[in-house]
Symmetry: C2
Subunit: 406 residues, 2 copies
Amino acid sequence: MPLDALLTNGRLADGRRVDIGIAGGRIATLGEDAPPSNSVPCLDLAGDLVLPGLVDGHMHLDKTLTGLPWMDHAAGPTRMSRIETDKTILPYLPLSTEERAGHLIRDCVARGTAHMRSHVDIDLESRLAKLHGVLAARERHRDRVGLQIVAFPQSGVMRCPGVLDLLDQAVRAGADLVGGIDPLEIDRDPKGQLDGIFAIAARHGVGLDIHLHEPGEMGLFNVHEICARTRALGLAGKVTISHGFCLGQVTERAAGAAAELMAAAGVALVTHGAGGLALPPIEMLRAAGVLVFAGNDDIRDTWSPYGTGDLLERASIVGWKADFRRDAQVETAFDLVSAAGAKALGVADYGIAIGAPATFFTIAASGVAEAVAVHAPRKLVLFDGRLVARDGAALPEPLTVAAAVR
Amino acid sequence: MPLDALLTNGRLADGRRVDIGIAGGRIATLGEDAPPSNSVPCLDLAGDLVLPGLVDGHMHLDKTLTGLPWMDHAAGPTRMSRIETDKTILPYLPLSTEERAGHLIRDCVARGTAHMRSHVDIDLESRLAKLHGVLAARERHRDRVGLQIVAFPQSGVMRCPGVLDLLDQAVRAGADLVGGIDPLEIDRDPKGQLDGIFAIAARHGVGLDIHLHEPGEMGLFNVHEICARTRALGLAGKVTISHGFCLGQVTERAAGAAAELMAAAGVALVTHGAGGLALPPIEMLRAAGVLVFAGNDDIRDTWSPYGTGDLLERASIVGWKADFRRDAQVETAFDLVSAAGAKALGVADYGIAIGAPATFFTIAASGVAEAVAVHAPRKLVLFDGRLVARDGAALPEPLTVAAAVR
């Protein structure tokens, strides 16, 4: 196949200098001896580092205020206040869910994100409205980012009769996974919630991603319950625990036992760095065989004013909190927002290799550790062979490399 | 006095639209009705937010690797390994202390920092060599940043006989404060170290800034010892505890008692966000009357690969860890890296007011909360009326506004 474009003089994470040939949206050639040709549009990367498109494993696209003038945080200091306050704010914003989600997607694309998993609230008041908004944003941006959607019962399941049926409807309407939340703290009925959401996942053959903020031994109880159901239903590799703060709060021995259980059951963990709480022990979990990945969680939304959408900045925060100082450890922090996330999301052909989608970004950095620590602006961001952002700003529409160099 | 320059169409943190007239390096006029003049060089701020120059309350200019090619972190996982490894690395780098400190100062200036407090290692091996390097960097950059230097006994005091004398020499050579470190963990002799360093401070009439990493009740013991000596020697307002992780680790009651003691003694606390450890309770400490401020601590140095030098990013990390969500709380995070830091460092005439030094920066943001949360690049950075950085990059030399608009 003739090349559509050639990016010359890039540098891979392993130090190799490469020219990257693109054809049909994929990497067609990758080496130091690209076929010389006068007819192929060329872009000189000037030695910049080329890294695979980043993977945001935990987002809330439906809650963001991105695209709106700045607003003061309205909720009180508790999680339940944030849940209730959302219902008084989100439906009345001057931008729709689709519009706000679109603004945030483009902000994240500008920072090199290529794949996302977003939770979307499903509750008795808004029913599937937010899902439809995020589905529309996904469709609108399908040539810029891959987006996986979790039908997320933010307000609870058993305390809101009817939500289980809405979650089932959400999966039929296009959600990729079923969510859950704090079966003890929010629902006071762990058996009811977990039996209910696992039944929906099993019925549709989809995965689960369950928010677990519960502290210490309370949270650990539900880690055990989630692992037991994952094994019983043969869902290994399809279940994620979001946050899992408890794993950073119990004794090392109890966390170690939970890690063994999660690894054996095929239950993954996604973290955003745990805010003011103890971070789950990432290296211990990974050594035990648990798939650990990371995401931004709140990005300027009704839950938090913080978050820029930059996964390299997020990796630097996670690495700082995890006391990752050596390059190999900082590279682990990068893995959390790249390959590990891609594995969790089931991204096909992830990485920079011949035959893989031409989905990567370039940055001025000597290597992965510096890219994470300094998180300089992304120079070029490509998705499926087309340029979607440049010099830190999203393009209005994706451009072929040929059009970009013209 | 005739104006040297006029910056039009700026916006202050309180929302006021202002024109800022500069004369003799100071703010000469500040209002909506600047005197029209054809002869004054004008710069249009286009509605950007104008904030006072940032204050980095805790740095280690002598340890930075800024300006060098990226290096893997070399030390082991303990603080003592980092202390010992520094002695095998820092003297043999291809850039001098002065050069590396200069690179970092300019990086920070580019991000809006106007005042710094840097610790500089004083030990038996390097004696005053690092101090002389940082003093030279201070002199070289005196028209770009204010720099306060702490003579810091990184390797210990009582365990290294001769260091007390070196600290005394350091103050005579130009250090502004005397440092200390973990009197129990490092020196195993709290009375010896604290009596020794307080005697030097009292003798020279300078302040102290003491690193306290010690956990829980061990750290709290030294908080009490430091407060007692501060009161006994009449040093209220001149003593800082750096880190004070223990204040986030003990019971709320014990931390509250320590806060009362610190407030009564006039002992301040500086935090960098506490990494993977619990953050000291910032709001409680401030409510008790303790002066709390913040700094970046390590910025790409032999102790940590992280840190960009951006104090707005630092404030966002501290605010995120402190669970500051409301604008007023995010503004507290900003206060830690601005006015509170200026008070701790004794910066004269800090802030944006007529008669104050024209030391401020501009940023595209609706207000302080957005500036912290998004930490967009700084557009213009001025120090004493001259432009020192523009669009995120330090200028080679400071420019008058007249020269910049020419």
